[in-house]
Structures are given as structure tokens and as C-alpha cells.
């Protein structure tokens, strides 16, 4: 018997791990967490903590007592799911709704399919859409952003999101210019920095983009998915804006309001539920962009990215089968 280890090559490993990837995502979310805490204060902290702790708790209970298998709550995936769930709800959401949302996220969105790596849909979005449909009132009364250091306004004030204002205004027959002139509509710069009403993580496009760049740099996500979504939304909304600017708002409005950045950078890029190959990632991203803008312009909801991502998630197996990576040696050679 040999005293040496025998195994097939390769004998070295790149030191990449699931844990590292998950905690890189957590790290990438820090700027957005700070921004939401700045605007919503302790409410933000409360929502983030409840969501993360409930997700961890449900994963632990299910793995230990239902599946009776190994408990892997330290791998960070439940933390990420919890954070993203919290990012998708208003800061004043009652705690019990959030706990139910976490149960749906982990229980139905993730564990029912076999846990990490098996879920076809983004778990946090499953939880979010469940809450949106079950508790529409609580899920759509957003507190007005109130920077911690600013004076005035009390906590109790809620207001519609920029996208909500747009939808209501258009439904009421107003033109885009009239809607933008409405005093409750956040100004251009506020939309960029996040000083407006909305879900926790929808606030600051800048903070989200910083996190996104960090993840691209750390190779946790590919740039193709966010870029294709953002480009599609921009181009599609841009075309309609050019056709009729009184009815269709300028495309940058779409980019910096609602959950577009959050969805494009953090939700659609979820490794488990997005396509595996580069060409597939483009198709997936373009699909999400189109569905999002269609829902925003003509759908019943002011915001559509959650649905768009879930719909495209369902197409991922098909995309994976149809869009293969470019094989080496299958292209004709130019002599």
C-alpha cells in the first residue's frame, strides 16, 4: 500500500469556492446597503436583518429536519437570498410578511427543487412576487426616503415610486412633461443617487453599479447579462420616446427608476438560474429587457423586471440547449 495520495490530474485548484463567490456578492451589496440605511435609517436595518435571519433559519430547519441532510447555511447562499429579498421590499413592510416571504423564498423557491444549484427560478424573486400578489397594499406603499441627517418629514409618510407616478399619470391622460413637473416626482439627480421612494435596494443606481463592477472584476458575474438588459431597455424605450415623447418618457428614466439596476445586476445574473453560455446570456438579457419595458409601458403593473426575470428563467434550459459555446475547430479556416 502506498503512503502517497493518488488522484487524477489536475493536482492544483484555483482556490475558488462557492463560499467565496457568495460572500463576494454580499460584499458587492454593501454600498447599496449603506445607501438604503442612509435613506431609511433603522427601518432598513430591521428589514435586512429579518430577511437574512429568516432565510438562514428556514434553510437550517428544512435541511436539518425535513431533508435530514447536511446543513450548508454557512455557504452564504441563504444570506444572499435574504439580502436580495430585503432589497425587493419597502422599508416599512410588516415583519410577518417578510418572514412569510423568506419562507417562500427558501422553502418554495430554493429547497423544494433540491437546494442550491437546482432552483430554476431566482428564489428571492419567487418570494418577492409571492408577497406582491398576496399583500399588494403593504408591498406597494413605499416610505418616502428621508436621509438620516435631514430634518423635517416624519417616518409615517409614504409615497408612490417614480414609476408608479408615471403609470398613474399616463393612465389619467397626462403628458410626460406634466408628470415630470409634478412636485412629488424625484428630480433627475435624486433618481441617480436614490433619493426617492422605492424598495430598499432600488434606491441608488450608482451604488448598485459600483457593486456590479466589483462583481464583474471578481468574475462573479458576466457583464453580458446586465449590459444586454440595460441596452435593450434603453434602445426599446428610446425608440418609443422618439416616436412620441408626450406619451413615452425618455429612456434614462427607465434605467434609473424602479428595480431595473437591481434586477439587471443582481437578480438576473444569479448563476443558478441564468444561462451558461455567452450567446445564451445575450438572448436571456435581451428577453428580460423587452419583457420589462413591455410591462412598464403597457402592463398592469408599473414595474415589470421581477416578472421579466422569472419568465426568462423558465426559458433558461431551452436557451442552454440551443445556444452552445463556440466550439474550437468548428469554424471554417481562412487560408
Amino acid at each position: 500500500m502506498s503512503q502517497f495520495t493518488i488522484s487524477g490530474s489536475p493536482h492544483v485548484h484555483g482556490e475558488e469556492s462557492v463560499k467565496k463567490i457568495m460572500y463576494t456578492v454580499v460584499l458587492a451589496l454593501v454600498p447599496a446597503i449603506l445607501v438604503s440605511t442612509y435613506f431609511f435609517g433603522l427601518d432598513a436595518v430591521r428589514v435586512l436583518l429579518i430577511a437574512v435571519i429568516s432565510c438562514l433559519f428556514f434553510e437550517w430547519v428544512i435541511q436539518k429536519y425535513l431533508i435530514k441532510g447536511p446543513v450548508t447555511i454557512t455557504d452564504g447562499s441563504a444570506v444572499v437570498a435574504g439580502l436580495l429579498l430585503a432589497f425587493n421590499v419597502p422599508a416599512n413592510l410588516p415583519w410577518w410578511i417578510l418572514v412569510i416571504g423568506a419562507l417562500v423564498t427558501i422553502g418554495i423557491g430554493k429547497m423544494s427543487f433540491g437546494g442550491l444549484g437546482k432552483n430554476p427560478f431566482n428564489p428571492a424573486l419567487v418570494g418577492r412576487v409571492f408577497m406582491l400578489i398576496s399583500f399588494p397594499v403593504q408591498m406597494t406603499s413605499w416610505p418616502v426616503a428621508k436621509p438620516i441627517f435631514a430634518e423635517g418629514l416624519t417616518d409615517a409618510i409614504t409615497g408612490p415610486t417614480a414609476l408608479g407616478l408615471l403609470k398613474e399619470g399616463l393612465d389619467a391622460g397626462k403628458t410626460v412633461d406634466q408628470i415630470l413637473a409634478d412636485p412629488s416626482m424625484p428630480a433627475y439627480l435624486d433618481r441617480l443617487t436614490g433619493n426617492m421612494s422605492g424598495s430598499l435596494g432600488e434606491m441608488s443606481a450608482i451604488a448598485l453599479i459600483i457593486g456590479g463592477l466589483f462583481m464583474i472584476w471578481r468574475k462573479v458575474i458576466d457583464w453580458q447579462v446586465p449590459v444586454s438588459i440595460i441596452l435593450t431597455v434603453f434602445v426599446f424605450a428610446g425608440i418609443f420616446h422618439l416616436i412620441d415623447p408626450t406619451f413615452y418618457i425618455d429612456p434614462t428614466f427607465h434605467l434609473f427608476t424602479g428595480g431595473l439596476m437591481l434586477g439587471a445586476i443582481y437578480m438576473a445574473t444569479d448563476m443558478v438560474s441564468s444561462p451558461m453560455n455567452i450567446s445564451g446570456k445575450w438572448i436571456y438579457g435581451i428577453g428580460i429587457g423587452l419583457i420589462t419595458i413591455i410591462i412598464r409601458m403597457w402592463g398592469a403593473y408599473p414595474e415589470g423586471i421581477s416578472f421579466a426575470i422569472l419568465i426568462m428563467n423558465a426559458f433558461v434550459p431551452l436557451i442552454n440547449n440551443s445556444f452552445k459555446p463556440k466550439r474550437f475547430g468548428l469554424v471554417a479556416n481562412k487560408k
Partner: protein, 445 residues
């Protein structure tokens, strides 16, 4: 600065760890007993010509090539044949080998020039070169050990345009080719000229990764005297030493799936092979020795040795000041594609480029977790395959589907497994799948 050339698809960048790069090549003392395996080349093993009790000279033909893809084998030592018997090789199998009791005093076979003098003039013609290479048992020294004379016989209707010489040495740790380029540069270039003559090509390109600037400078300087040979620095990226990747990197051509490099007018050979060709053609010296790196993080004296074939691994390790206490794994070759060996008795063969000693803590794999579909393996695959999918198909015995998904294109470079965050044994499954699919393909004929 201009961006350095490299191949485009996939690839990884493992820690280079070229700790033996500055150790000059040293001659290793002879062992008491040598084990010379009969199957040292790709293809059929050689047929022994000696029997127990025979006296052999250094360089004497002791086993003959059998079949088309086969190579001659010569005695690396002077001494007496003890037996022809099975011995454990680096794959862990018992395979036939010639055991030789080595005699201290060396007696070379007649007609072999053992002097150091460099012979520059190439007298042999095309056919004489190929015959001489065949006679001397030259095989590819990059690791694949494909008989070189077979490679030089271009099939009818094909024409070689480029001779590409592999000085990439993309495997971490290994430095044998690096040292060879520095110390035998002139011989190597003459060897390349000989190969060019045999192939009737005008252009030869030596691809060298940019982490060996001394070799690039040295050879560029020497190559001025040799028309048609150019030195091409390449960006450091694994697996650039793969034949298809190197062709892509140097001349930007893609070898079609399932085809050989000649399809795109290229022939690829290793720098070590070029030196062996020089010695065979100019000095009539058969392939009986090669440069082997002995290295590892715990090795006291990482070294490069000129080793006779048949020398047990044990002796190389002793020459590098012994086996470190915490050695957990011994690898014949580099960390990406080398084979873990079971015993220190395993002999050096024509294809051994290095002996890597890994510490206990380095030698174990991480615990496999579930696939998180991160697609890092797909991005890392230099052949544009989907390793996660192929591994799954192999696991589920879906061999027909694995074949249509091009499992046979896998070059077993290990980039997928290296990069997998879930520590999945992807290449283990891929090898299994390739094995089965290969059987299926062969059974169709």
C-alpha cells in the same frame, strides 16, 4: 507595448511556481539497476531484442518498433540484462520492462559521437533524416511521446507550411524545457533546421511564454544565424502548450475538430524533441536521456537533471536532497496534467518532464459540493466545451449525447476542474466519458 499573442478561447492562470528556473542542468549519477519500460511511446510497445544475461552497451538497440505508430528503444546504460519482466509504470499498471544491472564503466555503442562539439552542417537529405530519427527512437518529449518520424511523414495531398516549436512550458513548476533552451539553444536551432529540411518548410516559429525572457532573448540572438526560424513571445496562459492552442496562438489557425495539425499546414514539436533530433541526426545518438525537473514547495534543492531513461524516481529525489517529510503526493509531470505515482521505484521514461513533490496539505482535493451552474468551467474550457454537462452525461452514461456534445475534443487540460468553485471532479468524469465514447466509436468500425 503591443499586446502579446495568445490563444483566445478559455484558459486559466495557475500559480507559476517556477522555483527551479535558475538551477542549471546537472548530470545525474547512474543507478545500480535500471528499469526500461517497453511502452515508452504513444502506440504499440516495442518488442525486446535482448534476453536475460545479455551484455548491452550504452546506445545499443534493445527493443524494436512494432507497428506503424511505434518507436525503437535503446539501452540507456552499459551492463547486463537481468530479466524482462513486468514493472509498475507511472500509471500504476504493471507493464513489461527490461531490467538492466548497470555497470560503472560506460561503453558506448559504436558510431555514436559523444563529444560536446556542435556540428552545424546538415548533410543528411529528407529521407535520411526521417530514417535516422526512426532508427534513434525519437518521440515527442513534450509528454505525448508520439513517434517523431511518423509525424514527419506528411500524408499525400497535404503540405506543411509551418513548423511550430513548443517552448511554452505552460505547466506550473516545470523548467526542463526552459533550461534546455538556455543551455542547448544552438543544438536546438540546428535540430529545428533538420526538422524543417525533413518537412520541406520555410518557416519555423518557436513559441515561448513571456515568463522566460532570458530564453526568449537568448534564442532570438542565436536565431539571427538561422534563416526561417523566428522566436515568438506569448502571453502566459494555460494550456498554451496544447498543440491546438499553440497553433492558434502563433499562426491564428484553428485545427478542425477531430483533425491533426497538418490539416492547417502545421507540424508541432517540442524544444526537447528538437534537441533529440539534433543528436540523432548529427551525432547518431539515440534517445536515452532527457532533462527532468525535480521540484515542489518543500523540496530542499529544486533542480533540473539530465537523466538517463530507466533511472528510478527515487534517485532524482535523493539528488534534490531527499524526500521532504510531509510529502503527500508525487507527480510524474506537472500539476495540471501529470500523473500521481504510487512508488518511488517508477522509472523515468522518454515522456517524463518533471517530478513534483506536493506537501500533504496540497495533495488533497477539496470536498465536492453541488454544481451552482456558475459556468466557470465553460468559460475556462479552451476547446469551447461544456465540462459540467459532459461530466453529467458521463455520470449518467449518456455516451451518445456526450459524443454529439464533442466530448472527444477534450484535451484533458484540467482547466475546468482547476476553476470549479464546487471542487467537482469534472475531469475524472470527462476521462471516463471519453474512454467509453472512444470504445463506442471504435466498435462502429
Amino acid at each position: 507595448m503591443i499586446a502579446l499573442k495568445t490563444f483566445k478561447k478559455g484558459g486559466v492562470h495557475p500559480e507559476e511556481n517556477k522555483i527551479s528556473a535558475h538551477a542549471p542542468i546537472q548530470k545525474l549519477p547512474f543507478p545500480k539497476q535500471a528499469i526500461v519500460p517497453l511502452g515508452q511511446n504513444l502506440g504499440a510497445p516495442s518488442k525486446p531484442l535482448v534476453k536475460r544475461g545479455d551484455e548491452v552497451n550504452t546506445g545499443q538497440l534493445i527493443a524494436k518498433a512494432e507497428g506503424f505508430i511505434a518507436a525503437n528503444l535503446h539501452s540507456p546504460f552499459t551492463g547486463k540484462v537481468l530479466k524482462v519482466d513486468d514493472a509498475i509504470d507511472s500509471s500504476g499498471y504493471r507493464r513489461p520492462a527490461i531490467f538492466i544491472e548497470v555497470q560503472e564503466e560506460e561503453k558506448w555503442e559504436e558510431g555514436i559521437d559523444t563529444s560536446e562539439a556542435i556540428i552545424r552542417e546538415i548533410k543528411a537529405d529528407k529521407q535520411a533524416i526521417i530514417d535516422q530519427i526512426k532508427q534513434c527512437g525519437i518521440v515527442g518529449l513534450g509528454g505525448a511521446t508520439f513517434p517523431t518520424h511518423v509525424k514527419l511523414m506528411i500524408p499525400d495531398g497535404k503540405k506543411a507550411e509551418y513548423l511550430i516549436i513548443n517552448g511554452v512550458e505552460c505547466e506550473p513548476y516545470l523548467t526542463s524545457d526552459h533550461r534546455l533552451m538556455l543551455e542547448k539553444g544552438e543544438e536546438m536551432l540546428i535540430g529545428i533546421k533538420i526538422l524543417m529540411k525533413a518537412l520541406e518548410v520555410e518557416k519555423a516559429i518557436v513559441g515561448i511564454e513571456n515568463n522566460k525572457p532570458d530564453a526568449i532573448n537568448h534564442l532570438s540572438e542565436l536565431a539571427k544565424q538561422y534563416a526561417g526560424i523566428s522566436i515568438q513571445p506569448l502571453k502566459v496562459k494555460y494550456p498554451q502548450g496544447g498543440e491546438k492552442q499553440l497553433i492558434k496562438a502563433t499562426v491564428n489557425r484553428e485545427v478542425p475538430s477531430g483533425k491533426l495539425p497538418i490539416e492547417v499546414g502545421c507540424i508541432v514539436s517540442n524544444v526537447g524533441t528538437a534537441v533529440a533530433v539534433y543528436e540523432a541526426v548529427q551525432k547518431n545518438k539515440p534517445l536515452i536521456e532527457r532533462v527532468v525537473t525535480v521540484t515542489g514547495k518543500a523540496v530542499k534543492k529544486p533542480s533540473n537533471f539530465m537523466v538517463r531513461v530507466g533511472t528510478p524516481v527515487q534517485m532524482l529525489i535523493e539528488a534534490a536532497e531527499g524526500l521532504p517529510d510531509n510529502t503527500g503526493k508525487i507527480i510524474n509531470g506537472g500539476p495540471m496534467m501529470g500523473k500521481a505515482i504510487t512508488s518511488l521505484e517508477v522509472p523515468i521514461v522518454k515522456g517524463s518532464s518533471g517530478i513534483l513533490l506536493m506537501k500533504n496539505e496540497e495533495s488533497r482535493r477539496g470536498i465536492p459540493q453541488t454544481c451552482i451552474r456558475c459556468s466557470k468551467c465553460t468559460i475556462a474550457c479552451p476547446m469551447g466545451l461544456e465540462p459540467f454537462l459532459l461530466a453529467k452525461m458521463a455520470k449518467l452514461s449518456l455516451y451518445e449525447r456526450a459524443e454529439t456534445e464533442k466530448i472527444m475534443d477534450c484535451i484533458e487540460c484540467g482547466s475546468c476542474q482547476f476553476t470549479c468553485p464546487s471542487n467537482l471532479p469534472l475531469l475524472d468524469y470527462l476521462r471516463l466519458g471519453k474512454n467509453k465514447v472512444g470504445q463506442i466509436i471504435r466498435s462502429r468500425k
